[in-house]
Amino acid sequence: MERATSAPQTPGESPAACAPPRVKVVGVSKTFPTPDGGVARVIENVDLTLAEGEFLSIVGPSGCGKSTMLRLISGLTPVSEGRIVVAGREVTEPPPGVGFMFQRDTLLPWATVSENISIALELNGTPPAARPARIAELLKLLGLERYADYRPSAISGGMRQRAALGRLLAYGPELYLMDEPFGALDAMTKMILGRELLRIWSQDAKSVVFVTHDIEEAVGLSDRVIVMEGPPGRIKSEYRIDLPRPRDFRAVRLLPEFRDLCERIWGDIGRHSEAE
């Protein structure tokens, strides 16, 4: 493998580098009222830009506000100060074309795998007649054909998360917001699903904001990694990941540059912890 030097925010056949950013976060802060009547500052003055087709990861210790950041971008939680623009429109409610994936699979327990995926098709306006074919296609893509009629409780955690990914893909968003989607999985499943995510992403080149506490996962997947510290959550540093694309999620870990990047990011977070 040879090292790629080109601008990493336009991977694959992603179009024009001059396209407007998919997400723009300007001076955003978030406060929550605390039970004792005070105010907790969870996010403090964050600026960040996500280019079209870019894969961005946010890492940081737990409680640093990275999940909150994702909820703010998704419009599920309103900002307290500053503004967030997604696809040119200021976010005041969940914007169109944004898919969210949680650490928990959040599949409806009373619905089968197919039915769970079907709900996303219903919500994005896919006509009923076109749904079965699309569902079958996604089940095949994710290796879930056998489990189409299973309820979530009857399949493994990895399969459930695959189904949740299927639902996300079915919705067909332009922006994926993923909150530690593989965080609850065992190491092996995590590796396999990370690899599939990379494979799928390299084909459709959507924009992704991926929150994780796993630095190797972040470096392996992303074009750029942002390190957050907090509370209150701030951006501490930013790393451009110039590892070659397309990447093999596992093999890329053998590159010295990969090790080097992980070490530097770890050093960053480590210093932060020592400072406490």
Partner: protein, 263 residues
């Protein structure tokens, strides 16, 4: 999907566990009725506790002459109307209170206060307000079950998984879509739990209404029999009530199995 890739075990109609369960239940029946039979035929006069064969004979007779149907249909009908009214009002009011938490908190002590009123003390008022016909019994049954549906609706709505709602919101689902596809299915187990408790309570309400003023119904039959020191009649009426309660509970279970797929 081919049959051999399907790893779910087929559920036989009569599994060994089910056979054993029914055997155990039958055993409890035989033992308790047997004990009753022995006591009634040895140490106690059937005047006090009647006896299984006398009760069976009475039930058979009132089944044939139509009395059983005449009385039990009234009791069941009143209970069902009370249940339906309790479901509609309790569910609707529960949704309203869940929507307006401030109202819910203001009303909370009053609801709990009303809930703990002894209904038997209200019975004379109910007769005054609603007469001695059908309505007073329906309202009596209603007064027992409405709180169960109200409280379970509120609790069930509270227990709906926030992440499920957020996920739907992130896909721009309307509140009506979320209510229909997420909240209602998530609440069904709570509503069925309420229904299961309410079946027994609605029957109690219906019978209580009859005890206080009626010319029909199993409550009236029991009251009438006890007035004539007809222990067998009392036991026959109570037995019929028990059978009806079990059957109605089974109906709720069947409805639940039909409406909520196995998790």
């Amino acid at each position: 999907m081919s049959a051999e890739t399907d790893v779910r075990p087929a559920r036989p109609f009569l599994s060994p566990a089910k056979v054993r369960l029914w055997f155990d239940r039958l055993l409890v029946f035989v033992l308790s009725v047997g004990a009753w039979y022995v006591v009634a035929n040895t140490i106690l006069d059937p005047f006090w506790i009647s006896s299984p064969e006398l009760v069976a004979e009475r039930l058979w007779r009132i089944t044939l002459n139509g009395d059983l149907w005449w009385h039990s249909s009234a009791t069941v009908w009143q209970a069902l109307l009370g249940l339906a009214l309790g479901l509609v009002v309790g569910f609707g009011f529960g949704l309203l209170l869940a929507r307006y938490p401030r109202l819910a908190e203001a009303l909370d002590p009053y609801i709990m206060g009303l809930y703990s009123l002894p209904r038997i003390a209200l019975a004379p008022l109910f007769i005054l307000w609603f007469g001695i016909g059908l309505l007073s019994k329906v309202m009596m049954a209603f007064s027992f079950v409405v709180f169960i549906f109200l409280l379970n609706t509120m609790q069930g709505l509270k227990e709906v998984d926030r992440d499920h709602i957020d996920l739907m919101r992130s896909m721009r689902a309307s509140p009506a879509f979320i209510a229909r596809r997420v909240q209602l299915p998530a609440m069904l187990p709570w509503l069925f739990a309420a229904a299961r408790i309410s079946v027994g309570l609605a029957l109690i309400g219906s019978v209580l209404g009859e005890l206080l003023g009626a010319n029909r119904g199993l409550g009236w039959y029991v009251e009438h029999a006890s007035g004539r020191l007809d222990t067998t009649g009392v036991f026959a009426g109570l037995t019929a009530l028990m059978i009806i309660a079990v059957l109605m509970n089974q109906a709720v279970n069947l409805l639940e199995r039909w409406l909520t797929p196995a998790k």
